[in-house]
Amino acid sequence: MSETYLIAFDGSAASARALTFGAERARASGARLLLAHVLEWSPYSFLSAEEVAERHKRRTEEVGRAETVILEPVRKKLTAQGLSVETVVRYGHVAEVLCDLATEYGATQIIVGRTGEKGLQARLFGSVAGTLAQAAPVPCTIVP
């Protein structure tokens, strides 16, 4: 059975490192790549009446931007190199959504970059990589 690597990609330098790492491994093992862009979103935040009315429009714009600007160029580049690449855009708590996606797509490994946040903020809110290390349903590689 061929492998699937789930790579969290948001266009940042850290996620680019994760992508490079994952692509190299995929070339060697023939694994399929699943690039996931997760937009941070809480159903319990507060919106004004006007924001409620515009939400669907904004969401459509955000998804469109994520697909065309962030994921599509990378997908094209990797496909040209002969890799099998799929992309997905989701909303939610980033680490939780990545765990759900891994199960949903039967990923054999999750690969994420590390932003290297230190200090109070990281302690209080934790990091995506830290949460995944504790909660991922499949092996998780954290790329520094």
Binding site: L47, A53, R55, R90
Partner: protein, 508 residues
């Protein structure tokens, strides 16, 4: 209304020293130009002391409660599960969640009605008004359910992904669907009253209470608060400075929570009095406690304030809820029925209990009757006016710092309610005059102007006009709800059937 414009245009060129007389002028002109409207809406039912419009709202709420078989109690648990996200498809994350729909609509209702309105109710109707307020809140849940379900079902969806909805849309489309006449006419009438309600209860009442609170606690003249509020709202709704609105939307829920906590602590500190307070409420609800109008007076005040506070049957919440993209109109109706409960049954009751328990209202020790002031209101310990000052005095008697915190809360509540109501007003305005930025701008400018008018006018004139404008929305809305409620019933039965069969499934 034309005279008010003229008076202000002329007076606004005058410099500072003329401000006191300006306020008086605005005041007089305002009272003179709105009295006929107020008298029409609050005319008594022939041979009784009950305003027909209050009877109208309560009758509607009773009809919906019976027609849908006490849906507010049957669906209460399910509604909480929906808000918790139990039935939300994770794939829809990023769309408006049921929780967000609930809080956005609540931001238009939780606010001054809960702080000032309740104080007015108990200072005229005594403790007994609280009982009728709670009852009206519970009944109102069924009205809210009906109107918000229809709001979602008959909204307009535009190609760019935005939506417009509310009573004007379900009146027009729903009547056409059922082959009933006059839908278009009633939709326009509703829109006219919605614009007036937006300027009245959603604007001037808020500005007025905020200004009088800031003036009594901090000594700032009302016209300054009026100008400041007007300026900030202008920046947000006309200038598009979203960051201010965003800050408020974040702060207001915590204000609401803080208000609830402080109120609860006062109740807990006086826990031995709670039994007495409830016996006062029951006694006042069913006997003559010495207020004007006796027991009927308590009923009227309770119902009036509940309706003003939770807006059930008014149609406003349907505008907010219809913007939510949900597959099931009924589930949005279920979410909305929680609003009168939170707003009236919980928060308003708490305010009333605080006022009663801290014994702000003077009772004659010999007769057990309330002592009336010369204006027909019950005299209070501090001798302050009804509205925010009374609530403020009640909270202040327990915590010395409370009036300052309350001033801030009142200011922010007023602001967030104005922002929400400006949205309702714009929707009704564009329904009548067509969508378009220039048309929206005209309304928004009028809206900002009325903030100033509201801040400087006297409380009685403003409250009466606010009430009248807001209640008048209910005239056409409830007529429409009577004709359209079979559609809601069909939706409800189908929903409940699919919920039972597992077709509507829980994700968590």
């Amino acid at each position: 209304m034309k005279y008010a414009f003229a008076a202000l245009a002329a007076a606004s060129v005058l410099a500072g020293p003329a401000q006191a007389s300006l306020a008086e002028q605005v005041d007089a002109v305002f009272a003179a130009s709105t009295t006929w409207f107020v008298n029409l809406i609050f005319a008594n039912l022939p041979g009784t002391g009950v305003p027909w419009i209050v009877g109208w709202l309560v009758a509607g709420a009773v009809v919906f409660t019976l027609y849908f078989g006490f849906i507010q109690f049957r669906a209460f648990g399910h509604a909480l599960q929906i808000v918790r996200g139990k039935y939300s498809d994770p794939k829809d994350a990023g769309e408006v969640s049921p929780f967000q729909a609930l809080t956005a609509a609540l931001s238009g209702t939780v606010g001054l009605g809960n702080i000032a309105g309740v104080a007015v109710a108990v200072s005229i109707g005594g403790a007994g008004a609280t009982f009728w307020m709670i009852l009206a809140g519970l009944l109102g849940m069924a009205s809210k359910f009906t109107e918000c379900t229809l709001g979602v079902k008959y909204r307009n969806e535009y190609p760019d992904g935005t939506v417009s909805g509310g009573p004007m849309y379900y009146i027009k489309k729903g009547f056409a669907e059922r082959g009933l006449p006059l839908g278009g006419f009633m939709a326009v009438m509703f829109s006219i009253f919605c614009v007036l309600g937006s300027l009245g209860g959603g604007n001037m009442f808020q500005a007025n209470q905020a200004a009088s609170q800031v003036s009594s606690v901090l000594g700032v003249p009302t016209w300054i608060t009026g100008l400041v509020l007007s300026g900030i709202v202008f920046l947000v709704i006309v200038g598009g400075i979203k960051s201010i609105a965003r800050v408020t939307e974040k702060v207001v829920p915590f204000m609401g929570g803080g208000y609830f906590l402080v109120g609860m602590s006062i109740l807990i500190l006086n826990w031995d009095m709670i039994g007495w307070a409830f016996s006062e409420i029951i006694r006042g609800a069913f006997t003559d406690s010495g207020i004007v109008g006796g027991m009927v007076g308590a009923i009227i005040q309770g119902f009036r304030r509940a309706a003003f506070s939770n807006e059930a049957g008014i149609g406003s919440a349907a505008i907010a809820h219809s913007a939510v993209r949900t597959k099931e109109p009924i589930s949005e109706g279920f979410v909305s029925l929680l609003e009168p409960f939170i707003d009236t049954v919980i928060i308003c009751t708490m305010t009333a209990l605080v006022i009663i328990i801290t014994q702000q209202l003077l009772i004659d020790a010999n007769t057990g009757m309330y002592i009336l002031g010369e204006n027909g209101r019950i005299a209070n310990v501090e001798g302050v006016g009804a509205g925010v000052p009374l609530t403020s005095a009640a909270f202040g008697s327990a915590f010395g710092w409370a009036p300052y915190a309350l001033s801030l809360a009142v200011f922010l509540f007023a602001f967030s309610t104005m922002i929400t109501w400006s949205y309702y007003g714009v929707k009704a305005w564009t329904y009548m005059f067509g969508e378009g930025e220039a048309k929206e701008l005209v309304f928004k400018l009028i809206f900002c102007f009325f903030i100033f008018v509201g801040a400087v006018t006297s409380l009685d004139a403003v409250i009466d006009f606010s009430d009248a404008a807001l209640f008048s929305m209910a005239i056409f809305n409830i007529i429409a709800l009577y004709f359209l409620m079979p559609i809601v019933k069909r939706e409800l039965n189908s929903y409940l059937l699919r919920l039972k069969s597992g077709q509507i499934k829980a994700y968590k």
